[in-house]
Structures are given as C-alpha cells and as structure tokens.
Amino acid sequence: MRKTLLAGMLLAACPLAAHAQAETYKVDPIHSFPHFGVDHFGVSTIWGRFDKMNGTFTIDRAGKKAAVELTIETASVTTGDNDKGSRPRSRDEHLRQADFFNTAEFPRMTYKSTNVKFNGDAPSEIEGQLTLLGVTKPVNIKLDRWVCREHPMNKRAMCGGDGSGSFKRTDFGMKFGVPAIGDEVRLKINFEGYKE
C-alpha cells in the first residue's frame, strides 16, 4: 500500500518537475519592437516599425523547448512620415488604410511559434505562423542574439535578443504597389522580456 502511494506521488510529481523547468517571460513593450524593411523603387530600403507589441515567451532550457506568442497592433505602424504637411496624407496614414495594413478591419497581427530550434541551450531559430490581414502563413525568425541575465537596475530576471527573417507580403494579400514597392519584407525584431 505504501509502495503504491509512493509510486503514485512520484508519478504525480513528474509533470510538475518537468513543468518547473519552463520559464515564462512577458514581453517588455517599451524595449521590444518589430521592424520591417521594404525596397522602394529599387533605390533604397524604407524601414518602419510597429510601436505596440505584446506577448509572452516560454523557455525550457533542459528540455530544449520554447514557445512564443506575439500580438502587434497594426495601427501603431510608423515609418517616420507622420506629418502630411500640404499632402492629402502621410505615408504612415496610407499604410494604415486598406491598401496596406487595413487596420480598421485587421487591428492586430499575431505570430505564434510552432517549433523552436536550439543551438546548445540557447534558442537559435523560431518556426512559426504569422497571421496578417486574416491570412496565416509560416514565417521563420532566426535568432541573431539571445541573452538571459539579471536586469542591472531592477535586478529582475530577463531574457531578450534580436531576431531576423523575411516574407513576401503578397502571400498575405498585400499586393498594392508591387513591384515598385518591394514584395519581400525584411523583418528585424528586438525583444526583451521579464520572467513571470
């Protein structure tokens, strides 16, 4: 009877032990931004970013497992052209309309990981699904940097890094201006998160 009880307790404790390995981090929205770059008339790359991104990431170093969920407010897009001056609209206003991010109809885009590859005990590449304009397609993000440490000021445990990737906007139905305004979107994300 004692042996059975002990075995039962051990069995019940196993998933808890495994779960205890996983750490959850909440994205720090004031130090985490997705940037995007698009070719402009074959001359230069115009860079922009979204000012509002939230989400969480979970990492289990021992089990080499991780997961990411990000939500980006599409209306927070900015490319540095907010003041329309004497023009009927600024570029950022145009980006919010139906030709591009259609923020009235799709106020959010999301990214959810499906698999995370590890290099040693650090995540190196995220395979995931980007949902933009109601279309969900796979987009991979390579982690160019991954650091976990104690925040030097508030002493809280934090992880963060830089990621990069690319996708074709026409895959998501954003066809306006192609090819004059490039189809390929270069993605660079800087992110930091505090341990929950």
Binding site: E93, Q97, A104, V135, K175, F176
Partner: protein, 271 residues
C-alpha cells in the same frame, strides 16, 4: 506589354474603357450594352490582380457584390421587367448587403458607433442604388450618372487614402464612359436597363462606403456622391441629339462629383 498592363493608369482607365466599349458595342443589339460597367470593372480587378476570396475582406466583398449586381440586373431586365417598386426594393437589398460588406469593421466598434455607421452606410447605398436604377429607361442620364459616380468615387477614394478602391472607382467610371459614348453615338438604340444602372450604382456606392470605412473619405463626400443620380434629372435639351444631351447631363453630374472630391481634399488637409 506586361509593364503596360501593370501601369495603374492603364489598369484603371484605358483597359476598363476598352473592355466596356467592346462589350457594349457587341451586346447593344440584344439590349445588354448595360454590361459595360461590369466588364470594365472585371477587367480592372483582373489586371490589378485582386481576384481572391479568402479571407473574405470588405474589399473582396465589394468585388463580389459588384459582379453579382449586373447578373441580378440582367434577370430584372429580361425576366421581370423593372417596375416602380424595383428601384427601392433593389436599394434595400443592396443596402442590407452593404452591412455584410463592413461587418468585420462594425463588430470592432462600440455598439452605438457601429449602429450609426451601419445606418449611414445602409441609407447611402439604398439612396444611390434606388435613385440610379430608377433611370433604367434613360440611357443618356444613366450613363452620365454612372460616369461620374465612378470618377467621383474613384478620385475621392484616392484622396481619402485608398489607391486600390480609387482604381476600382476610376475603372468603373471609365467603363460607364464607354457605355455613354455608345449612347451618344447611337441614341435611343442603346438600352441601359437595370443591368447598367444596378452594376454602376452598386459598385460605386460600395466603393465609396468602403473608402469611408476603410480609409478616410469623409461622410460629407458620400452625401455629394448621392446627389449625382439626382443631378442628372435636371432638364435636358430633349430635341437635341443624344451627344448634346449627354454633355449637358454629364455637366450636371460633374458638379456633385467635383464637390465630393473637394470635400475629401478639404477633409484630408484639415483632419
């Protein structure tokens, strides 16, 4: 050639005009010249590469309804014959359909704001469709109304920050222009019917409503656009040739269309 077809000006003017003209010139003997706006609109959507139905966005719903309208128009002309009740009934039908178009936006707004927006769009689409369809037996007036419904909506949408909806509107105007050109040359031999009036009014009204909801076309521009099918009812020199009547009717229609663009421009500069 490919580069030419990718030119937005070709996509929204020359190509829809030619497509509309070919269809109108070919089908006017069987009283189906009214398919010109549908042909031009279809050509523009095809060239812009905007065919696709998943996910069913508001813009795609506009395309679907704009292509369904002429089918219903043909049925109304050939099977039922439009009566006095036809314009308001079709107005209510497409007014209700406009709520479906903007539904994904409505559900994200506070209830009161959504109700006001839905009521406004419903009333606008109802008015434009009913007033235009009631011109079904007056090809010159209907053609002039269609021309400036398209051009006014298209130019307004461009100013209101949606180039895609602007292209659709301008393409519709160009295609209606091809119908009007044929009516100017052939006079009463060209029949508008519910086919033309429904195709032109449904597409124009939904594009304008879309430009207001999805972009920044002000509601005051929509009021001006709704005046276009009323303006073409002003007196015409009935004894003059069709081409003179068409010019006069077009001048009548130009005024509210230009007003809609001016209001959009003013709004863009101040908001």
């Amino acid at each position: 050639m490919q580069e030419l077809l990718e030119n937005p000006v070709i996509q929204s003017s020359a190509a829809p005009f030619l497509a509309g003209l070919v269809v109108a010139a070919t089908l006017f003997p069987v009283r189906l010249a009214g398919l010109a706006p549908a042909a031009g609109f279809l050509a523009a959507v095809w060239l812009i590469g905007a065919f696709g139905f998943t996910p069913m966005t508001a813009t795609r719903k506009i395309v679907v309804l704009s292509l369904a309208a002429p089918v219903l128009g043909v049925l109304a002309d050939l099977a039922f014959k439009p009566t006095r009740a036809t314009p308001p009934v079709l107005g209510v039908l497409f007014g209700a359909a406009s709520i479906w178009v903007i539904w994904s936006v409505l559900v994200q707004r506070p209830v009161q704001e959504a109700a006001l927006l839905a009521a406004g769009v419903f009333a606008f689409v109802l008015a434009v469709v009913a007033l235009t369809v009631s011109l079904h037996d007056q090809a010159v007036r209907a053609g002039s109304a269609g021309l400036f419904l398209g051009l006014g909506t298209g130019a307004g949408a461009v100013i209101g920050a949606s180039a895609l909806l602007g292209q659709y509107g301008l393409a519709l105007g160009a295609a209606c222009g091809s119908f009007l050109l044929l009516a100017m040359i052939l006079g009463k031999r060209v029949f508008a019917g519910a086919t033309f009036t429904l195709a032109a009014s449904v597409a124009a009204a939904l594009i304008a409503a879309g430009a207001m909801v999805l972009a920044r076309l002000p509601w005051t521009s929509l009021v001006a656009i709704a005046l276009i099918p009323l303006a073409v009812r002003l007196p015409l020199p009935e004894k003059s040739p069709a081409w003179i009547q068409a010019i006069v009717a077009s001048l009548y229609a130009l005024a509210p269309a230009a007003g809609a663009c001016a209001l959009a421009w003013q709004s863009a500069r101040t908001v």
